[in-house]
């Protein structure tokens, strides 16, 4: 099992979500986050006051996947979240040792 964390543009979230659903992915955790990588922020002036936007709004998706689905999901996110501009985000993958469904204590991929 792999844990996938993807940081994407908020504007791409709906498309990514729909594409993942079409690919058969039902469960995911979504968080509103702020941050920046190479895409730095900028400063806006409104009515004489400066507003520094150094941490940009992003959406973080988290899901744990059976190994066989990892490539499909990564491809789907790459296709739908990409705009080609700086700030499109990143995908992180890490190995997961165990998953346990609290309700019935099922374990492993059955618990996903």
């Amino acid at each position: 099992m792999m844990k996938l964390e993807a940081i994407i543009q908020p504007s791409r979230f709906e498309s990514v979500k729909d594409a993942l659903r079409e690919a058969g992915i039902e469960g995911m955790t979504v968080t509103e986050v702020r941050g920046h990588g190479r895409q730095k922020g900028h400063t806006e002036v409104y009515r004489g006051r400066e507003y520094t936007v150094d941490l940009l709004p992003k959406i973080k998706l988290e899901m744990v996947l059976p190994d066989k689905l990892v490539n499909t999901v990564v491809d789907t996110i790459l296709k739908t979240a990409k705009t080609g501009k700086i700030g499109d985000g990143k995908i992180f993958l890490s190995r997961v040792d165990e998953a346990i469904r609290i309700r019935n204590e099922e374990r492993g991929e059955n618990a996903l």
Binding site: P10, S11, R34, E44
Partner: protein, 883 residues
């Protein structure tokens, strides 16, 4: 043995229990007996027996089994009950035992020794009851302990108010009931009342202080059974019970509401198989299908049945709130009474009106006068203006008038002028909320009844549609004293928004379509606007603004979440949809309020940030692209047609000539009617080279439109004349068309009431302005004296002066943005400095936010942007002039 009926509201069920006697019955018999009996009670409830009878039957069963097990335990342990008894407390004490409610039992001991003696018995007794399926929640106290107030256990003392003898030593109970508790309760009254107030308010806060939850908890949420019980406790503890009198009709309503909610609670317990009191969507449908709690034979769908629920919940919540409002309930010390008697209630003189403020709330002083409905509306308008609520007693007075047709109603219809005043005030929610409770909101705006208590199944929204709509308005008004950082951020928008009345009107109507049989609720809401606008006789311009806000109420939210708000194309596209700064401000506030009122967590700081960034980007786009988009008149076919429609004898060529080359903002801020008036002024320029149009707004505010051929220092001259007359400029626009005709609009406050109190001065003012602009009269004499007076007044808030040049936003001009402390004559100082350095003002946008002035000028010199040297010279000159 005797039981003493507890004081309280009228509901008390059943008869005193009888003492049970007999031999020890084995557990194998007792358990199934109790189960059978429970099954029988459930079947009877499901076949239509009332909740009142059901909870009584459950209570009788519990009483019977408790007493039987107690007697058996005494026999088994070879003990008598001397010095020991059982009391039923809380809901069980009141004989309101729901199917899966706890059995609250107090073990009362005469002495500490008795407590030790009976400990093994209690253990057996409790275990047996648990094994029989009773959820025992017990406590043990000696008589001595009952004299003390447990300050960290208010719940126990409240439960004790509903005490009832169950079994054991009745003499012991009588000592507690007749001697000990009356004395200690009297002493503890202030503590109990204060704690009960706190406990109740905390509970109401936890549920957002509203009954209108989509999936309400029928026990604990506002309007639930706990509200009724809290009201009963408040009455029971109160020293002066007369102040809490309710009429027989109110008592009947409350009793009906308790029956309805009790039926739901029984149903929920049976359906869930546990003490779960949440009325979920699924169970709402199922309750509606079996017409739970309804006996009129009428079939209702879930939404209609929920409206009945909310009606009953409103009855109980209103009763509780009235009791909570009675400050005199809390007993006072002699010193406090003496002090309060000397001070008397704080009452403002009503000044001939039938209402006034007493102790921080509006009260009605002359009830019959309220049959003139316009008096009621002015009471609401005052509440909205002052941010002072109506007392529950004032609401009762209004309700009484409304329910008694023998009092002839006059001026029943509210006019748009009155409604507008109310909606445009700082605290419109202080009027709309009680109006909704009293049914006056649907009288004034019948379209609102479509969403009255309407449940729309949606896992995102937490409240009914009407509650959501009112909350949007309350979230905006709370910006007067921002409760958090988000609100603080948006506060300046709320303070300075133009036509607040239209924004609030749009919020009232924006979701009405959800209560209409239409595919898209926006379509329905627009239909509601059309009917309301026709009835209230709104102007075309006003309808167009509200129409825009309703039609586009989801656009800003969709743009910020589904588009890249840092992409200039997104911003320019959104700006094109919105059209102008004023609309943007209204739409932004509407979006803020609409998201915020979905549920308490919906407007995350992340979303508020996105909204703010989209607002700032679009606002800056408007102010920095003014001279980019110019009107090419022949392309504006629809506008030309509209203007021709209202302009007497106008030709297309004439209209096109006037419009050609004006910045597009001119079209965004002026209606077809305004443009027609401007063209009428334009025609007169041939005979009179300076045209002045002056209109009075509300109070001291005026707006001035001046049209003439462009000339050096024109803007500074107009600003100078206004300053000379003591007028404070709040807002201004300066535009010029391709032919060099200037249309300048100034909104100003008549600080010294010169024009307001001396109408004859208006003509002199117009002449003075025209003469100075034409060069027939000098400006300097007007300015003498004003300058000194204005500089003598210290500012209330210090604003740091800032200048900034921007050469990138416009292709043709240099933008100069000035933020400075407002003062009379400031704009003249700026304008004259610009004129002195030969800077031509192509476009100007002047705005004021409290004491802060925010001016944007598009400047050119000989048709080009300002060079670096000119910018440096201008910077220096402005710094010297403005400080």
């Amino acid at each position: 043995m005797t039981t003493v009926a507890r004081p309280g509201l009228r509901l008390s069920f059943g008869q005193p229990i009888k003492k049970m006697q007999g031999s020890v019955t084995p557990q194998s018999v007792l358990g199934p007996q109790a189960d059978d009996e429970r099954q029988r009670i459930r079947k009877e409830f499901e076949s239509g027996v009332s909740a009142r009878q059901t909870v009584l039957a459950l209570c009788a069963l519990a009483d019977q089994k408790t007493q039987q097990v107690f007697e058996d335990s005494l026999q088994t342990h070879g003990q008598t009950s001397s010095g020991f008894c059982l009391l039923a407390l809380g809901g069980y004490g009141r004989r309101l035992l729901f199917p899966y409610s706890d059995l609250d039992i107090l073990f009362l001991f005469g002495t500490e020794k008795a407590e030790q003696t009976f400990r093994p018995l209690i253990s057996d007794f409790s275990r047996t009851l648990w094994d029989m399926g009773f959820r025992v929640s017990s406590a043990g106290r000696t008589l001595e302990e009952c004299k003390r107030i447990e300050e960290d256990n208010i719940e126990f003392h409240l439960a004790l108010l509903d005490r009832r003898f169950l079994a054991g030593d009745s003499e012991l109970f009588n000592r507690l009931d007749n001697r000990i508790l009356p004395t200690s309760e009297k002493t503890a009254r202030p503590f109990l009342l204060t704690q009960l107030h706190k406990l109740t308010k905390d509970r109401l806060n936890r549920y957002g202080n509203t009954i209108f939850h989509l999936e309400p908890n029928v026990k604990d949420a506002p309007g639930g059974l706990r509200d009724y019980q809290a009201a009963a406790w408040l009455r029971q503890i109160a020293e002066n019970k007369q102040s809490l009198n309710i009429t027989a009709a109110e008592e009947d309503l409350a009793s009906g509401a308790v029956d309805f909610l009790s039926a739901i609670r029984c149903f929920l317990h049976y359906a869930n198989g546990r003490n779960d009191n949440t009325l979920t969507y699924e169970l709402q449908a199922s309750a509606a299908e079996r017409s739970l709690g309804v006996f009129d034979g009428e079939a209702r769908n879930a939404a209609e049945w929920m409206r009945l629920y909310f009606r009953h919940a409103r009855t109980l919540n209103r009763l509780l709130l009235r009791y909570l409002e009675q400050k005199a309930l809390v007993p006072q010390t002699f010193r406090q009474r003496f002090f309060n008697a000397a001070r008397g209630p704080k009452t403002e003189p009503p000044n001939g009106r039938p209402f006034g403020v007493r102790d921080g709330m509006y009260e009605v002083f002359n009830q019959p006068a309220l049959s003139d409905r316009s008096q009621i509306f002015s009471l609401f308008t005052e509440a909205a203006r002052a941010g002072i609520p109506l007392s529950r007693q004032a609401e009762r007075c209004i309700a009484y008038i409304m329910q008694h047709p023998e009092l002839p109603v006059s001026n029943a219809q509210i006019s748009w002028a009155s409604l507008r005043e109310m909606l445009g005030a700082d605290y419109p929610g202080f009027a709309l909320r009680p109006m909704q409770r009293l049914g006056l909101l649907t009288d004034a705006l019948p379209e609102f009844s479509r969403i009255d208590s309407l449940v729309v199944r949606d896992f995102y929204h937490r409240y009914t549609v009407d509650e959501h709509s009112l909350r949007t308005i309350e979230h905006l008004q709370e910006m007067a004293d921002p409760p958090d950082e988000r609100a603080e951020h948006f506060q300046p928008l709320w303070r300075t928004v133009d036509r607040r009345d239209l924004l609030i009107f749009a919020l009232l109507l924006h979701d009405i379509g959800k209560g209409m049989p239409v595919e898209n609720h926006v379509t329905g809401s627009l239909e509601a606007l059309a009917s309301a606008a026709e009835r209230l006789k709104l102007s075309e311009e006003d309808v167009a603004e509200v129409h825009f806000l309703i039609e586009r109420h989801l656009d800003m939210s969709a743009t910020m979440q589904r588009r890249d708000i840092f992409d200039p194309a997104t911003v320019s596209g959104f700006a094109a949809t919105v059209g102008n700064q004023e609309r943007l401000q209204r739409l932004c506030l509407l979006t803020y309020a609409d998201i915020h009122a979905v549920n308490p967590e919906a407007l995350t700081p992340w979303k508020a940030d996105m909204l703010w960034q989209l607002f700032v980007a679009t606002s800056n786009y408007f102010s920095r692209t003014l001279d980019r988009d110019r009107v090419h008149a022949p392309d504006e076919t629809s506008l030309l047609e509209q203007v021709r429609g209202v302009l007497a004898g106008g030709t297309t060529e004439e209209i096109e000539k006037f419009l050609e080359g004006l910045p597009r903002r001119y079209l965004a801020v002026h209606s077809a009617n305004d443009i027609a008036q401007h063209i009428a002024m334009y025609r007169k320029l041939r005979t009179e080279p300076v045209q002045v149009e002056l209109r009075q707004g509300s109070g001291r505010s005026f707006s001035l439109t001046l049209m003439t051929a462009d000339r050096p220092s024109l803007f500074a001259t107009i600003a100078g004349v206004l300053a000379g007359w003591g007028m404070n400029i709040i807002k201004a626009d300066a535009f010029a068309n391709a032919a060099g005709t200037v249309v300048d609009t100034f909104h100003f406050a008549d600080l010294h009431h010169t024009l307001e109190l001396n109408p004859t001065e208006i003509d002199r003012f117009r002449r003075s302005l025209a003469d100075v602009v034409n060069g027939k009269a000098p400006l300097q004499p007007l300015l003498q004296g004003r300058d000194k007076a204005s500089r003598e007044r210290p500012p209330k808030v210090a604003i740091e002066t800032k200048f900034g040049f921007d050469d990138n936003s416009s292709e043709h001009s240099t933008l100069l943005e000035i933020v400075a402390q407002d003062r009379p004559g400031l704009l003249y100082d700026i304008g004259s400095t610009l004129a002195r350095l030969w800077c031509n003002i192509e476009v100007a946008l002047i705005d004021t936010e409290g004491q802060k002035v925010i001016d944007v000028f598009y400047l050119t010199e000989q048709g080009k942007k300002l060079g670096p040297e000119k910018q440096a010279a201008l910077f220096e000159a402005l710094r010297t002039k403005l400080g």
